[in-house]
């Protein structure tokens, strides 16, 4: 799947059920870029962020001693959300997503977003699926590791509540115990 994939359906896809998910399963890969200065400027303008390290090369290199203009972390985090959202919703829910910006991605980079299923936690009314996420560049350097927890409906169960109601600590602990015993 490439960025700005316009081949979107007119109606939501069939639900992805908890039972259909396998450990190690890969989410669909997503490519973004190669990033130009206008890409970075378009994002900065959309969110009214005027931090010079995204468009002023002289300031970035001479003042902040950075290698080149940086792809915004605030932009990259949306790519991780997109791969999770497209995999789980609208019938599931992307409850938690976390990410770390461990390495800089600079202008000119092409980014590849990936995800994989790490653990399944069966709860009473729906299941939780823990995902490992990441962004790598064209040189296969990983810059943005992440994790996510999504809620998916059971095949014979009701819908995942929306707005989402997180499980209680006790329910989550019971589900984790069931996952360990599985």
């Amino acid at each position: 799947m490439r960025d700005n994939d316009a081949a979107r359906a007119d109606a939501p896809a069939d639900p992805r059920h908890f039972e259909d998910v396998s450990l190690g399963e890969r989410l669909g890969d997503l490519q973004k870029g190669p990033f130009t200065t206008p890409h970075l400027m378009r994002w900065s303008a959309a969110i009214e962020n005027w931090h010079k390290i995204h468009y002023d090369r002289d300031f970035t290199q001479q003042h902040d001693k950075l290698p080149d203009l940086l792809v915004n972390g605030s932009l990259k985090q949306n790519f991780l959300l997109q791969i999770v959202k497209d995999w789980a919703t609208p019938h599931g829910w992307p409850w938690k997503v976390s990410f770390q910006f461990r390495a800089m991605d600079v202008v000119g980079s092409t980014l590849f977003v990936w995800g994989a299923v790490k653990r399944k936690i069966p709860l009473r009314d729906f299941g939780l699926v823990e995902l490992e996420l990441g962004i790598r560049n064209q040189e296969d350097r990983q810059s943005t590791p992440g994790k996510a927890t999504v809620a998916l409906p059971y095949r014979e169960g009701g819908p995942v509540p929306y707005p989402f109601v997180p499980p209680s600590a006790d329910e989550l602990a019971a589900g984790e115990a069931r996952a360990e015993g599985a």
């Binding site: 316009a6 939501p12 010079k52 002023d56 910006f101």
Partner: protein, 175 residues
């Protein structure tokens, strides 16, 4: 030399009042956001598609609320005020943590170190949004690139009924 002095540590736990975003969720802002992240999900714009989802109506992208704390109409024009300052990096005046008091860390450069996001619902076009920030932790660590200061802020994003839309824990690196 340590940057995290007792004065800096005194900011841990400091919380803002609940503030309201200047703008409601504008359809045009959703369009620009979706185009900039290159995710043309029909749920963001199509009434017909959204009606077939649990959301019922078009929604803003999941992380849209995190970027909604904008400079008020009569807010301080930091860009003009610091136009002659060679150290001005373009930040300040607006942004996700802008109404927390600034930390006395001098001109240390600022980098985004990552976030933990908890989502409860999406925002619809036309909805208002409020927020509350707090400094959750401030510490420093010696890294391969030198001494770095880690600033952890937590933000609750609230809808017009006070319901939680999202809760975010951000790590900002100063070096």
């Amino acid at each position: 030399m340590s940057h995290v002095t007792d004065e800096v540590k005194g900011y841990i736990g400091v919380e803002t009042d609940v503030g309201r975003c200047w703008d409601v969720v504008e359809r045009g802002a959703v369009r620009r956001f979706a185009q900039a992240i290159m995710d043309l999900d029909p749920a963001f714009m199509s009434e017909e598609y959204a009606a077939q989802t649990p959301y019922g109506k078009p929604v803003a992208p999941p992380l849209f609320p995190l970027m909604q704390n904008r400079l008020p109409y009569d807010g301080t024009d930091v860009i003009s005020e610091r136009a002659d300052d060679p150290d001005y990096d373009g930040t300040g005046g607006a942004g996700p943590s802008s109404n927390l008091p600034p930390l006395p860390l001098g001109n240390l450069a600022l980098l985004n170190g990552g976030s933990e996001v908890e989502l409860f619902r999406y925002l619809h076009h036309g909805e208002g949004l409020s927020f509350r920030h707090r400094y959750a932790d401030i510490y420093e660590r010696e890294t391969s690139k030198g001494l770095m200061v880690f600033v952890i802020t937590e933000t609750d994003y609230l809808d017009d009924d006070g319901g939680l839309v999202a809760r975010v824990k951000r790590t900002t690196i100063r070096r």
